[in-house]
Each structure stands twice: as structure tokens, then as C-alpha cells.
């Protein structure tokens, strides 16, 4: 019985009124950063600096600074690319798909999850550009009239599809994020004391004044954007999986890749949202907004998507056996028992076993444990992409060309640098923008049907 009652807990704790919500969220931007923020920011900035050094060195010297060889032509950078795109997916899922399903609990976390999406896609987008080796020619990816023919890009190539998918995803996510923020920016503008803040937020909030005639259209546009972002997010990781699935490499050439990748992306993305939100609620004292119920709901999504990922791993092995294709069978046996077996079993351990803990309510509501487990999922999902890419390549059709792959310091530095970029942007975001959707939280403040509660 108690279980049923707690399921109807108010979404926002602390018996807040409307003004409390405004003040609580805006306070984060007004007060001086805490020492914890400075600590996090300096670590993130150091990591970013290491990344900038590594990238500068590898661009000036050439891609020989990587551990790639004739057999393993894709490794760290494409792993990181797929990893970061996947991280981004949870943000869109929370903001668009949960919106369409009318999941009211999304209101506390959607803003920061969307910000996370944008920063993750920025990190992801950098890797293909670095991977080109001659990033100053990156604009060749776009179809534009030129003096070389005009020679156009090859629209039959999944790599060209990637450019459009990731580009559209970045633009639409950023639009959705900014559009959703306009009313809150006006709230910040109207309570701003300093001239600079008034000017800055006045410019950004585009003259928003709370007129309901505008709200009415605004809600329609927001729903339309959500309706567009939902299929978009599915298409993006589908296209990313086409990079592999449309090739003829055993281990990549499989029709299960699109749903497998999308589920994996949501799985890893929710783990990253949990990691970030647990840090944010602790350091910014947002426990009333990001409640245990929010954390519990997210862990449930992890159980579901973790199950789909597990099923995909099993399906791959079954299909390799059932296909009767010797190369296909070899790749999967090599994954589990070959020289990269350690990576495979890290992946299996993190992605199959970790979500099983979330079946227990006591673990779902234990913030420290959820935090630790979410990091394990992040590690596991990074290794999933590494296993798919490297183990499928390193022992190819000809045993004489078999080789091993070992990352160099440049590649590891670039990976650390991408984390640095991600966390630097996120930490700057929580200082400068309303990190919880003020307007949307207010609309669910009285949610639970207790319409008689007065405010004031």
C-alpha cells in the first residue's frame, strides 16, 4: 500500500510556491560559484587543455601519431564519435519523447539533458573532423557549387548521410533547447539587477512578456518541434549504425544494428544524465527538484534499454552461428576469446550485469550506488563501441595481415580532452543559463490533482 502512495508523490518536493521556484533556479546563477564548482571546472579545463595539445600535435604532425595500422583503420576516434553521439540521445529522448508521452516528471531534468545533448554532439562532431587528417578541408563534406567540376559529394555513402544526420541533429536540438528556454530567459531578465544581465537576457528573451495568446502558439510550436525531434533522434543513430551495417565486414554487416545502436545510445545517454544530474542535485542543492522519483524513473529506462542491448549481444552470436558463415563465426569467437577478450568482457560485465541491480527498489533509491552504477554503464558503453570497431577489424580475412591495436598518448589525450570539453561546457551552462525549466516546473507544481491548494 505504501508503494502505491509513494508513486503519487508530488513531482517537486518542499511545498514550493511559484516565486520559490523562480528564486531557487535563478539563485544558482546569481550566487558566487562554490569551491566544488571551481574544482570541477579546473579539472575539466585541464582535461580540455590536454585535448587541445593532443589535437594540435596530431594535426601538425599527421595521423601517423595514432596507433592505427593497415588492418585497424578505425579505432579510437570513431569509438569516441559513436560514444558521444549516443550520449546525446538521452537528452532528446527526455525532452521530446517523454514530452509526447506527457511524462510530467521530465520538467525538472529536460533543460539540462538537452544541454547535455548539444555538448555531446559537439564533442561527437569533432572526431570525424579530426579523423580526416586534414581538417582544414572539412568543408568538402558539404555539397556546394565549386570549381572542381562542380564535383558533388557522394550521396550514396553512409558517411555523407552522417554529415546531414549529425548536422541536422545539432541544429534542431539547439533550436529546441533555445526555444524552450525563451520564457525562462524572460523570467531571468525581469528579475535581473545588473545592467549587463538585463541587456544580455533582454536580447535573448526576444521580448517575451507572458502573453497567453503567444503561449498558445508557443505550445503548438514546441509540440511540433518535439514531434520532429523524436523521429530525428532515432534516425541519427540509425544512420550512425549504417556506417557499419552497410559495409561487408563480418561483425558489422548486420541488419540488427539500427535498433541495437539506438537502444544502446539511450542506455548510455541515460547513464550520463544520471551521472550529471546526481552531481548537479548534490552540488547545487536541487534535491527538491530532482527527486529520488526522477532518479528511479531513469534507472527503469536503463533496465529496459539494457535488456534490449543484452538481447542484441545474444542475437549477434546466434546469427553468427545460424548464418553458417565461417568469417562471421570467427569474428564473434575472436571477440569473446581472442586477444581483445578483456575489452569484450568489460563490456558484457558493465552492460549486462549493471542494469540488473536496478531491479531492486532499495538500490534505485540509493543515490551513491546509482551514481557508481551509472559510471559503470558509461564505461561499458564506451567499450561496446571499441569492441565492435576494433575486434571486427584487427583479424581480417588474411591471417598474414592480422595485427593488434594499441592507442597512443595522442589518442588517449584526445579522448580525455573530449570529456574536458563536455564538462567545461556543461559547468559553464549551469552558471549562465536557467538549468531547470522554470516555467514547466511551475506548471506541474500543483500536479497531483490537489486543485484546492492555494498559492500565497
Amino acid at each position: 500500500m505504501a508503494e502505491h502512495l509513494s508513486a503519487r508523490d508530488p513531482l517537486i518536493h518542499g511545498n514550493k510556491n511559484f516565486e520559490d521556484v523562480t528564486n531557487d533556479i535563478c539563485k544558482i546563477m546569481d550566487r558566487k560559484p562554490t569551491w566544488l564548482w571551481w574544482l570541477g571546472f579546473s579539472i575539466a579545463l585541464s582535461a580540455l587543455t590536454l585535448g587541445i595539445v593532443s589535437v594540435t600535435y596530431q594535426i601538425m604532425t599527421g595521423i601517423g601519431t595514432w596507433g592505427l595500422n593497415k588492418t585497424v583503420g578505425w579505432a579510437f576516434d570513431i569509438t569516441n564519435f559513436v560514444f558521444w553521439v549516443g550520449i546525446g540521445h538521452a537528452g532528446t529522448l527526455i525532452s521530446a519523447i517523454l514530452f509526447l508521452f506527457r511524462q510530467k516528471w521530465r520538467t525538472s531534468i529536460n533543460r539540462s539533458a538537452e544541454a547535455m545533448t548539444i555538448f555531446a554532439v559537439v564533442c561527437a562532431g569533432l572526431f570525424p573532423i579530426i579523423h580526416m587528417g586534414r581538417p582544414w578541408l572539412a568543408y568538402w563534406m558539404f555539397p556546394y557549387p565549386n570549381f572542381r567540376g562542380p564535383l558533388w559529394i557522394n550521396f550514396r555513402s553512409p558517411l555523407a548521410w552522417d554529415v546531414f544526420a549529425i548536422g541536422t541533429y545539432l541544429i534542431i536540438s539547439a533550436t529546441f533547447w533555445y526555444f524552450g528556454m525563451i520564457p525562462d530567459l524572460a523570467t531571468v531578465r525581469d528579475r535581473a539587477k545588473s545592467k549587463i544581465k538585463k541587456f544580455f537576457f533582454g536580447a535573448l528573451s526576444l521580448g517575451w512578456n507572458g502573453s497567453f495568446r503567444v503561449w498558445h502558439r508557443y505550445e503548438t510550436v514546441y509540440a511540433l518541434l518535439a514531434g520532429l525531434a523524436a523521429p530525428l533522434v532515432v534516425s541519427v543513430h540509425t544512420v550512425v549504425s549504417f556506417d557499419f551495417a552497410t559495409s561487408a565486414i563480418p561483425g558489422w554487416h548486420t541488419t540488427t544494428f539500427p535498433p541495437y545502436f539506438v537502444a544502446g545510445a539511450v542506455f548510455s545517454g541515460f547513464a550520463m544524465v544520471l551521472t550529471l544530474m546526481i552531481i548537479a542535485r548534490k552540488t547545487l542543492r536541487l534535491e527538491d527538484y530532482i527527486t529520488l522519483t526522477h532518479i528511479e524513473n531513469m534507472t527503469k529506462v536503463i533496465i529496459l534499454t539494457g535488456g534490449i542491448v543484452t538481447l542484441s549481444y545474444a542475437t549477434e552470436f546466434f546469427m553468427a552461428w545460424y548464418s553458417g558463415n565461417g568469417y562471421e563465426q570467427f569474428v564473434f569467437l575472436n571477440r569473446a576469446l581472442g586477444p581483445f577478450a578483456w575489452a569484450y568482457w568489460i563490456m558484457v560485465g558493465c552492460n549486462l550485469i549493471t542494469p540488473q541491480f536496478f531491479w531492486f527498489r532499495s538500490i534505485r533509491r540509493n543515490v551513491t550506488l546509482v551514481f557508481i552504477l551509472s559510471i559503470f554503464v558509461n564505461i561499458g558503453m564506451w567499450f561496446e563501441r571499441f569492441v565492435i570497431i576494433v575486434t571486427s577489424l584487427h583479424r581480417d580475412f588474411l591471417p598474414s595481415s592480422w595485427s593488434m591495436y594499441k592507442p597512443t598518448w595522442v589518442e588517449i589525450g584526445t579522448l580525455i580532452g573530449s570529456f574536458g570539453l563536455f564538462f567545461t561546457l556543461f559547468l559553464l551552462f549551469i552558471r549562465t543559463m536557467p538549468m531547470v525549466s522554470i516555467g514547466e516546473v511551475k506548471s506541474v507544481l500543483h500536479y497531483r490533482g490537489d486543485g484546492e491548494k492555494s498559492n500565497g
Binding site: 555523407a160 525581469d190 507572458g210 502573453s211 518541434l225 492555494s454 500565497g456
Partner: protein, 168 residues
């Protein structure tokens, strides 16, 4: 021009109730100013369904047309290249990009149409009854009729919903 009255409320339920009552009494609501999108207020104010979804449908059609015809023109007309013996017009392979272009056109087109309708521009200052409209107060702007009595009728309705008149 008719006089306009502004009433202030402290929560969304009072606002909804009073808007309904004011309209039932035969007065016209000019607009409401609220800190969030109050559910059901569109019906209470008698606002029509927005037609912006038709605009976004048109943008989506433009997007998919540009996506498919653009790729066809590039790959089959302007500079055909033999790539692994694929046909010039590889329509199935063009679909992912066509879809992305459609989403891009539709999304940006919808948002910019909204901005154009609002005549929103960079740094436009907001006209609002009170700065608290973006914080914790709800405002209704009503049109006062010709009769003298009407303002007292309005006042009664507003009072009965714990609101107060704050200006004209």
C-alpha cells in the same frame, strides 16, 4: 477606444475560473499574462487552434522536395559519377539525407514563422502589465463595455476568485 482593465490572480485555478466567468458574463478578454502555459486556458479564452502546423507541413513538403530533387540533380544530371555501378538515380540511398533535410526545413521554418508572427526581433522590449507576470502572478486584461455598470460586475467576478484589479 474601450477602456481595458487588468486583474491580478495568485494561481492558475482562480485565473481559469475568472476567465470563464468573465466571458460568460459577456465581456471580452483581450489577453492573459501568465508565468507558464496554463492548461485549459486556451479553451477558457476561446482561442482557436493554431494554424502553425499547416505552415510546418508546407515547410516539410518543401524540405523533402529539395532533398530528393537536389540529390537527384547532383547525382544523375549535373555530374554523374559511376560509384560501384550504382544507378545514377539511387533513390533508396537518397532517403536518409532527404529525411534529414525535411526535418531541418520543417523545424527551422516553423520556429522562424513563429518569430515572424510574433514580430519578434533581437532585444525587443516586453510590454507586460507587471514584471511578476514572468514570475508568480497571473494577469487578465479585459475590455470594458459601454455601460457604466460593467466595471462593477467585473470587479465582483474578479473578487470572487481572490483576484484584485490592478489597473487600466
Amino acid at each position: 477606444m474601450d477602456r481595458q482593465l487588468v486583474a491580478e490572480f495568485r494561481n492558475e485555478y482562480d485565473l481559469l475560473g475568472s476567465v470563464k466567468a468573465i466571458r460568460d458574463a459577456g465581456f471580452e478578454i483581450v489577453d492573459a499574462y501568465t508565468p507558464f502555459a496554463v492548461h485549459g486556458l486556451d479553451k477558457a479564452m476561446g482561442l482557436k487552434k493554431s494554424r502553425i502546423n499547416q505552415i510546418s507541413f508546407i515547410f516539410a513538403l518543401i524540405g523533402i522536395t529539395v532533398g530528393i530533387l537536389g540529390q537527384y540533380w547532383v547525382s544523375a544530371v549535373n555530374w554523374p559519377i559511376n560509384i560501384g555501378g550504382r544507378p545514377w538515380n539511387s533513390l533508396p540511398a537518397f532517403l536518409p539525407v532527404a529525411f534529414e533535410v525535411m526535418v531541418l526545413f520543417c523545424g527551422l521554418g516553423t520556429v522562424f514563422s513563429f518569430f515572424a508572427w510574433r514580430k519578434i526581433k533581437h532585444g525587443k522590449s516586453g510590454l507586460q502589465p507587471n514584471l511578476r507576470a514572468t514570475n508568480d502572478r497571473f494577469y487578465v486584461v479585459m475590455k470594458q463595455g459601454q455601460e457604466r455598470k460593467s466595471s462593477s460586475v467585473m470587479l465582483d467576478i474578479v473578487k470572487s476568485f481572490h483576484g484584485e484589479m490592478v489597473g487600466e
